[in-house]
Symmetry: C2
Subunit: 124 residues, 2 copies
Amino acid sequence: MAAQPRDVVEQYVKLVATGPTEEIVQLYAEDAVVEDPIGSEPRRGHEKIRELYAALEAMERETELHTVKVAGNHAAVSFTMVGTFSGQRMTLDPIDVMEFDDEGKIISMRAYWGPENLKMEPIQ
Amino acid sequence: MAAQPRDVVEQYVKLVATGPTEEIVQLYAEDAVVEDPIGSEPRRGHEKIRELYAALEAMERETELHTVKVAGNHAAVSFTMVGTFSGQRMTLDPIDVMEFDDEGKIISMRAYWGPENLKMEPIQ
């Protein structure tokens, strides 16, 4: 049975915190397209998408899921990621929207966030 | 000066509660496209879009804005609308994503919500 959008979204937010990168990548269809943030150069396919999440590996991360809205094979999710590295704490709280194929793989992800949603601060 | 996406979104959520319908419609560009919910038949242009919001006129409404994420000429907004009519209370809590033109008019709106985000209950 195909994975359900809500389950995939919950798994996604969990894996963004824990990794491994490859498990995040495997939530995506082979030819998926990611715009993070929306309006930036789209990343098409597993190789380009992997680069995005591999960049997280340098950080200790936590995520908190706030809300998921599912409409058929579409979903929107609000969550917060806190990452720490080199004495800095980064907090990002985007809304990501995703579209899924019939197998429950993500075929499109677009992340809504701007400068106001990204905070960097030194760890006390 | 063109209206800023964040201001338009805040105005939108306010007008969904208060009307008038025509002011909501005027937030949209002439050839805007609305999918509410996403996956449903798109409504293109002011006339079709007006029908959607005119349907709210039968209700007393309140809205509460939860969060807005702005990325350039894109925005995502989470809000709740509570409407009452005929002894029923309807609660809808969607995430809407919007794209804006250079004048700050909405050219695309897609609403993420499903059955879990729509509650109907009798007023006590």
